[in-house]
């Protein structure tokens, strides 16, 4: 018999998609039975209470979580998010229900042994409810009490060789796409760079010293599977500088219908036979391709590496060999000044250990943002407020046409005094000798 009636939530237990309600109920049941004899360190009925509280929100159309709560582990300012419910008497099990962000391994690959350890830890010291994973990428452990925080941290670090992630005004846990681990499009090892940056900047990750959050996201190619271009203060997007590799035999196989285009992604519908002119040549945004006498030609100098042709014919076309990444900066969601897409800062940089060149750019940006950024001002907003030219000055990067979609259409140029011959100081009396008042 369930502790709280949940008629609204119960309606989410049907349909094909996995039901989180059924899943939490199952966990509630498992905790009630406690067949393994776990010595639960937070209320055993926590899952029943989370369902009860959520049911109340479904009924009221409002959240029942209180604002804020400063909790954490000693020496860190990030990684734990305090959470208290606003009906603690009714739902004692979730009166204190803090979240821990656990830094996920790059690429989100796991051995089950490690996942099971996390499960055991979270069974005993937490609610048994998680997010796999949060939007930033961390493993999210949902719901524990303050006295458990240090215990969990101690076990994570001592037993599992594993650290917390970031929260608050600091570097958020960097995240990456699957990269070279299982993708032929990856122009650099996203996992290696992600892991290196995460470890190099542990202090920035755990001890908030920034004006606001700061996100690194790493995409192996311009397909942008982790959406770095839309949501990272610094996006690292793989690219190449030389020619796309062509296997003409495979091109023929696509044209001949022996290989399905786009890796078979359109198999659910009859789109007719593959037409290379219609599906590749004419869709190329730079018109840099032609198909003649059964052969495909690419004018690589004009290619902007949008990936379409490679996505359509992955067996015939291949990313170039002179590989590296582009750095874009300033992407963010709308809060506060409207959404911003990342702006191109470094068109090409090699991604080779120890990544000193990349770190130099990062640190110059941080120096500028920490000096000039206002409280709760994202990097993108600072760039907008002070101008892209200030960013170039701060990073000591030379302006180039790649930095703009188009040059300015207004001529209100802020010339600096030192840029104008003779400076700004003039003698008005000398001027008046030749110009009457």
């Amino acid at each position: 018999m369930a502790k709280h009636k949940t008629p609204l939530l119960d309606q989410l237990e049907t349909g094909p998609w996995p039901s989180f309600v059924t899943d939490i109920k199952r966990e509630a049941e498992s905790r009630a039975k406690n067949e393994k004899g776990v010595e639960y360190q937070i209320p055993q009925d926590v899952c029943e209470d989370i369902l009860g509280l959520l049911e109340l929100s479904f009924k009221h159309g409002r959240t029942h979580w209180k604002h804020g709560g400063i909790v954490g582990v000693f020496g860190y300012g990030g990684g734990v998010i305090g959470r208290y419910c606003d009906q603690p008497e009714m739902f004692k099990g979730v009166a204190h229900f803090h979240t821990l962000r656990v830094n996920q391994p790059a690429g989100k690959f796991y051995k089950t042994e490690f996942l099971k350890q996390l499960c055991d830890l979270w069974d005993m010291r937490g609610s048994g409810i998680t997010n796999m994973h949060g939007s930033t990428g961390d493993i999210i452990l949902l719901g524990t009490t303050t006295p458990q925080l240090e215990e969990i941290f101690y076990e994570l670090t001592h037993k599992y060789n594993q650290d917390l992630g970031g929260s608050g005004s600091n570097l958020r846990t960097p995240s990456d796409c699957i990269g070279q681990a299982r993708c032929e499009y990856a122009c650099y090892d996203t996992q290696a760079l992600c892991h290196d940056l995460t470890n190099s900047y542990q202090d920035e990750l755990h001890r908030p010293a920034f004006p606001y959050k700061f996100k690194f996201k790493l995409d192996g190619c311009p397909n942008c599977c982790v959406a770095s271009i839309a949501r990272a203060d610094m996006s690292f997007i793989g690219t190449w500088r030389d020619d796309i590799g062509i296997d003409q035999e495979a091109v023929k196989a696509y044209v001949g219908g022996e290989i399905q285009p786009n890796a078979g992604a359109h198999a659910g519908r009859d789109w007719g036979p593959f037409d290379i002119k219609k599906e590749v040549i004419n869709l190329c945004p730079t018109e840099c391709m032609k198909y003649k006498d059964g052969k495909l030609f690419i004018n690589n100098k004009e290619c902007t590496r949008c990936m379409h042709c490679i996505n359509v014919m992955p067996r015939a076309l291949r990313i170039g060999n002179d590989r590296g990444l582009s750095i874009l900066v300033g992407a963010k969601a709308p809060i506060l000044d409207g959404a911003q897409m990342g702006s191109l800062l470094v068109p090409f940089i090699k991604a080779e250990e120890p990544y000193d060149e990349i770190k130099e750019v990062i640190e110059k940006i941080w120096d500028w943002w920490m000096e000039e950024g206002k409280n709760r001002e994202r990097l993108g907003e600072l760039i907008k407020r002070q101008g892209f030219q200030k960013l170039l000055e701060a990073t000591e990067i030379k302006p180039m046409p790649q930095h703009v979609q188009e040059p300015r259409s207004n001529p209100y140029i802020f010339w600096k005094e030192e840029e104008v011959e003779g400076g700004f100081k003039r003698d008005v009396n000398e001027f008046r000798k030749h110009h009457q008042r």
Binding site: L12, E13, T14, G15, W17, P18, T22, D23, I24, S30, E39, P43, C47, L54, F58, K59, H60, T63, K66, H67, F74, Q104, P105, F109, T112, F114, L115, D123, T130, N131, M132, I152, T157, H158, Y160, N161, Q162, D163, A181, C183, E184, Q202, A227, I229, A230, N262, A265, H266, A267, G268, P285, C306, H308, N311, P314, A333, L336, M341, N375, R376
Partner: protein, 382 residues
């Protein structure tokens, strides 16, 4: 419930303390076939919805079976994932950025038993535990935020509307009939922890009422200057307020007509709550993308300014989404993303085809970006 110590000694918090070690190294967790072939992959194919093969230059192949997950997962559910991975995948598993679970095997004959095992597992109410799909020109898992389950600023729930939407979109999770892939995302407030601002279809929780002012507590709970500075439209100013009991307190006043309900003041000041059962609801945005393929990355655009929260299944929201998906599926060209389709046919035509009403709320009036969204040409469609 006796307190059990892990070994941590609160009297000596620095004793044996280990900090700043970062995450586990990714290589520890690679399946052998991945470790061996990393960086050597030649091409991939989608063999059927939810099943991928990647072929290496060494001749090795890795077969991936992708299963949807509710993101919110209990440890029992994760243990079940582990059991499956132990049984079929040598104890390896991974998660995707869209919260799918990927089971990898190194030969084709291991795919069918794995798939069969995944699809045979059902929850007590009949829902799949591990539906297979989410690849190619279809709809994959909806990324989402915490909603009413765990967040203090949401304007809607997250897991609830996502479950309802995925039930409605399920056929497009398990098939690949669309012109291109279609990404659906949900963020339960404007903070957009889910970064839905560049998704093909975005479900966004939204407040529509200015903050309430808890005058009696405001000065005690908040730094008033921070609350004032937090407002992007300068709608908040300091105020002295007379309480019914005659006391005069420091508080703030809000110019309601300037409020765009972002909730930033509440983030800085808990005595300014704005959630409301009638005021809160959902905005639908469409046409965003993050890939650079063919056209530049795009922001999502608001196409439905408000739908009330309708727990538990949010029928009006899911119905509008279904309408958009069907119109897109019917009308767009192969490879064309939803936003590219809307731009090609024109937004006026988009509203016709999706049978959505255009209202004054859809005309941008927020700062500079607004100007660039008004039409400055006579080239429009009737």
């Amino acid at each position: 419930m006796a307190f059990i110590s892990s070994g941590y000694d609160p009297k000596q918090p620095m004793k044996d303390r280990i900090t700043d070690i970062g995450p586990r190294h990714f290589e520890e967790f690679y399946p052998p076939v991945i470790k061996k072939n990393k960086g050597k992959w030649l091409y991939h194919e989608i063999l059927e919805p939810g099943v991928l093969v990647h072929v290496s230059e060494t001749g090795d192949k890795v077969f991936t079976v992708r299963a949807g997950g509710a993101r919110l997962m209990s440890v029992s559910h994760i243990r079940e994932i582990c059991d499956i991975a132990d049984k079929h995948c040598g104890g390896h598993v991974r998660f995707t950025t869209r919260n799918n679970i990927e089971f990898m095997v190194d030969s084709k004959d291991k795919v069918e038993p794995l798939k069969k095992d995944l699809l045979s597992r059902k929850q007590s109410g009949g829902c799949y535990k591990f539906p297979v799909g989410g690849t190619g020109a279809g709809i994959t898992n909806i990324v989402h935020t915490q909603g009413w389950l765990h967040c203090h600023t949401p304007a809607t729930d997250a897991s609830g509307p996502v479950k309802a939407a995925m039930d409605v979109l399920f056929e497009d999770f398990t098939s690949m009939r669309l012109p291109a892939h279609l990404r659906v995302s949900l963020a339960c407030c404007l903070n957009m922890c889910g970064a839905v601002h560049c998704s093909d279809i975005a479900i966004l929780g939204y407040h529509r009422k200015p903050p309430m002012l808890d005058h009696e507590y405001l000065d005690k709970m908040c730094e008033i200057p921070l609350a004032i500075a937090a407002c992007p439209t300068a709608a908040i100013k300091p105020a002295k307020v007379d309480l019914p009991d005659g006391r005069k307190v420091n508080s703030v006043a809000v110019n309601n007509s300037r409020c765009m309900f972002c909730g930033n003041c509440y983030t800085m000041c808990p005595a300014m709550p704005l959630q409301d059962d009638v005021g809160d609801g959902i905005v639908l945005m469409v046409g965003g993308k993050v890939s650079n393929r063919i056209s530049a990355p795009k922001f999502s655009k608001v196409v439905v300014a408000f739908i009330p929260n309708e727990p538990p299944r949010w029928p009006k929201t899911t119905e509008a989404i279904k309408q958009i998906v069907e119109a897109y599926a019917k009308d767009a060209r192969k490879y064309e993303r939803l936003g590219e389709w809307a731009e090609r046919i024109g937004w006026e035509r988009f509203f016709d085809k999706c049978e959505l009403e255009f209202t004054h709320h859809l005309i941008d009036d927020f700062r500079d970006p607004a100007y660039f969204t008004w039409r400055q040409t006579t080239n429009f469609k009737f």
